[in-house]
């Protein structure tokens, strides 16, 4: 059996090594267009920033090491330029010489990845991208050549990682983003503290605009302003590399990725595809989605080896768990966000909390903000987002696992999560999300979202801020009346008639106030996430208006 693999990173390399462990006899040939296989692509921004000091650390394997250990025939700087599925052959070009040869295969695995999108704007020729080791070498070369200013186009994961790392190298950094917020996987009120963190660390953000031209040492924004830019990096996103597949008549789907079944088979017999180039099945809808992340790529690579070796395995739908570090913040998300649910017309409940990473009485607890999105009919978990310090990763991983395990939002209350005061809370933040979800599911309480306040105020609802007068004085929602929670029972008669909305700092005292006022016969809902979520949402209050 001869297996040809196109692309020697993540999915392709996982496939090759797994296949060897399953089949000592197979002939396994890996073609990689770049100069390196199996490199640490997620580490590239940190090498640019000097956090990873040793370039060798990025190079996890070499053709030689892979030959010695796994008897792989790995050929770098070698591009597969055509596939003939009917003949079972690929045309291979050695990039150094330009020589082309034809190789046969019994099975072909396409793992070409996704390439950075580079818009067609004036001067874009000098813009850098960050996909492989050659790219980062170019970037580091520019940095070493005394670059002092940088514009990063795109405030996605790569963009903000690069912004941090270029600040770390001492550059003036501006991030230009077409959307009104950073990090599109987040909803705006969750992205707002990330923008604050970037700005607080000296990154200039130009949101809601775009680069219209690139000059010698500047870029031009849509409104004509010039921004200094010794370096310009394009990080507006990636698109699946499908040219090879398209050329071979292999089906590409509506999202622009190669179509595969649960065994990673493409529309051409004997041809498989994995990784960022393929459309994956979304766990929520069963529809196609693009999830250019390392975890599913590696998983698919291993899986396709199993399939080729004759094992009955099937890929699962993906929930798309992702994380990014932004200076001192961890930012993580899984599943769908509120923007996407609204755009799709799906019903949902949103829950915001602002817990501590561990018990408050133990020193060093760090704050975080969590958001959970829940199906109002089934109580299924639709997605979650987390922004904060230590422990955001843990909570998102737990929720991602709960989603795959089919647990409902209320089930989160029952999870037994490891508690000692330096590591968590007896009622973990994930449990608390479950408690809130259970209260909503059972109608024990009702909440309003930050972006619903303008309409509710319009309709005459009165905000009752139950924080202390000292907290209230530090900032409050316009029009709110202040009666602190511990006086609410005795002073409830002071409240005007009509619909009430309880407000506190993070939503917890507001919940107690809501329960109290409901039982006093009042019509009242709690402001979900409290003043803190409302305030975070004010950056773009029109987002949901």
């Amino acid at each position: 059996m001869k297996v040809v693999i196109v692309g020697g990173v993540a999915g392709g390399m996982s496939a090759a090594t797994r296949l060897r462990r399953l089949d000592e006899e197979a002939e396994i040939v890996v073609f990689e267009r770049g100069a390196h296989v199996s490199f640490a692509n997620c580490g590239l921004p940190y090498y640019a920033g000097g956090v990873i000091e040793d370039r060798e650390a990025l190079l996890l394997q070499t053709p030689e090491s892979l030959a010695a250990r796994f008897r792989l025939d790995v050929r770098v700087r070698t591009e597969v330029v055509a596939v003939d599925p009917a003949a079972g052959t690929v045309t291979v070009r050695e990039l150094r010489t330009g020589d082309e040869t034809v190789e046969s295969y019994d099975s072909l695995v396409l793992s070409p990845g996704a390439s950075p999108i580079v818009p067609d704007i004036e001067g874009v020729g000098r813009a850098l991208v960050l996909r492989d080791v050659e790219d980062v070498d170019r970037l580091v070369g520019a940095l070493d050549a005394d670059a002092r200013t940088a514009v990063i186009v795109g405030a996605g994961f790569i963009g903000v990682e690069l912004a941090e790392n270029l600040r770390h190298r001492g550059l003036e950094v501006t991030v230009v983003e077409l959307a009104d917020q950073v990090l599109a996987p987040l909803d705006p009120e969750m992205a707002s503290p990330v923008a604050d963190e970037l700005r607080g660390n000296g990154v200039r953000l130009e949101l809601g605009t775009q680069v219209t031209g690139i000059g010698a040492d500047t870029v031009t924004l849509a409104d004509g302003r010039l921004v200094p830019a010794d370096i310009v990096v394009m990080a507006i996103g990636v698109r699946p590399e499908t040219a090879l597949a398209v050329g071979a008549g292999i089906e590409v789907g509506p999202r622009g990725g190669i179509v595969v079944d649960a065994s990673m088979r493409t529309s051409a017999a004997g041809v498989y595809a994995v990784g960022d180039a393929v459309e994956k099945t979304d766990a929520l809808t069963g529809g196609a989605g693009l999830v250019p992340l390392a975890n599913p790529a590696n998983r698919q690579g291993r899986l396709v080896a199993d399939v080729i070796a004759g094992r009955p395995v099937r890929a699962r739908p993906v929930v798309g768990t992702a994380i990014v570090g932004v200076f001192s913040l961890m930012v993580a998300a899984v599943g769908w966000n509120e923007k996407r649910l609204r755009a799709a017309g799906r019903g949902y409940r949103a829950i915001h909390t602002h817990p501590q990473s561990h018990a408050g009485y133990y020193p060093g607890a760090q704050g975080m903000s969590l958001k959970l999105l829940v199906d109002p009919d089934t109580d299924a978990i639709l997605g979650a987002q987390g922004v904060g310090g230590d422990g955001v990763d843990k909570r998102i991983d737990v929720i991602a696992t709960a989603m795959v395990g089919g647990l409902t939002a209320a089930d989160l209350a029952d999870l037994e999560l490891a508690y000692a005061p330096q590591f968590g809370s007896a009622k973990d933040p994930v449990n608390m999300l479950g408690y809130v979800a259970d209260n909503l599911r059972t109608g024990t309480t009702a909440t309003v979202q930050w972006h619903e306040l303008p309409a509710l105020a319009e309709a005459g609802a009165v905000l009752v801020d139950v924080r202390t007068p000292a907290e209230f004085a530090l900032g409050s929602i316009p029009g709110a009346v202040n009666i602190e929670l511990d006086q609410l029972r005795s002073r409830a008669a002071e409240l005007p008639e009509g619909q009430l909305i309880a407000v506190c700092q993070v939503g917890q005292r507001g919940h107690t106030a809501t329960q109290l006022l409901r039982q006093l016969g009042r019509s009242v809902r709690n402001l979900d996430g409290g003043y803190r979520t409302w305030r975070a949402g004010q950056v773009r209050v029109d987002q949901f208006a």
Copy 2:
């Protein structure tokens, strides 16, 4: 409705506050024998050690704050000395005056907790325990009175936490433990690095022995040796406080805890019980178990309030997730361990790994050891243990969630866990456990456990150590031959006939070697967890012999 709650910490206080949020009208009376309600009992060792500096930080609520916010009638230093379920009354003694009164109830919640076991040995009168704020005040008083040496009896969670904290205060600390290992929830090879960590931080361990007497400033061990002990702390475990229940004719179960149903009802009408005092349902067997942990206690407290308020809720069986910090180590466990599975005669597969907390190419990765226990028939996850640096808590929480979600061990391979190089790996340690489990489930590979080596060697099996000669020279298993993995393909003919066992440092290269040798027609198994697990097990190799 009048609800009386006995015990004002964790379960009792969760019940009281939840009930108030559900029912503004109920009369809620909490009796607490101690001087404090709602204190941070898990923080006590850290206050003793000075990590938590402010004693007030331990006191989360006061009777006054609970009255103001929740209209609770909380009476401290007040002990319920008798329950008359037929009459629906409790007899209450005010400890300051000795006065006794009778209070009626409509519902009674027993949340008395569990008390430290104090063995009947000579001189035990001066031994301290650590259960409540008064206890820690006594301990701190002794520390402030210039104690220089301490003996802690018991190497459980409280014992090792106290050892760390008393070292932090500069004391000479000896921990005496009857078992041959520290931390009974762990299997011996997982406990071994914890013992190393304790010793490395200057804690003397006396394992496999006991204190037979306590003198004025020493304790006497079973072999007659004297150990200096200005302070002696008993931390050998806790037992449910059931005197009140027994006196009232309420059923107590085989494990010594109050018997409750899934709605926390005891055998007496109108009487509920929660927390450390009750027997919980074990998720693995459905049998009764004692799980004296804060998370289930809080959960049960909230749940019993729901039940009393007429809501249809049921407690879930418990998996018993627990964690403890030991100097620089996190130590966590969930479910059953191997010792317990063996003792119960249950079949299992064990998997050991030694991954890094995050991608190795990003600076600062910390090592950990993980162990997964799997049902060989169903692939269900039976338990897990983790010891190491950062991220042990996350992995155990994810596995605990997977257990509750009914995921199999092989399903762990498919989990999408948040990956960026500073937070995890593209193949997370939890995914890797799933990969190994899948290989075992499908018969792709076979492993042997560290404690099976003596019998296998006896039967003539040959150990093939596939590490590099340099690694091999630093320590190896007696009798092993060394052929490094990258030469194994070409040198396989050197290996003797018969059964082979592949060995590497952590089990990963051994797996590749096993796959290679199997396909060359050899009978071979991989040493699970590699040399590192074997070596950790040597401390008590007879444990499983």
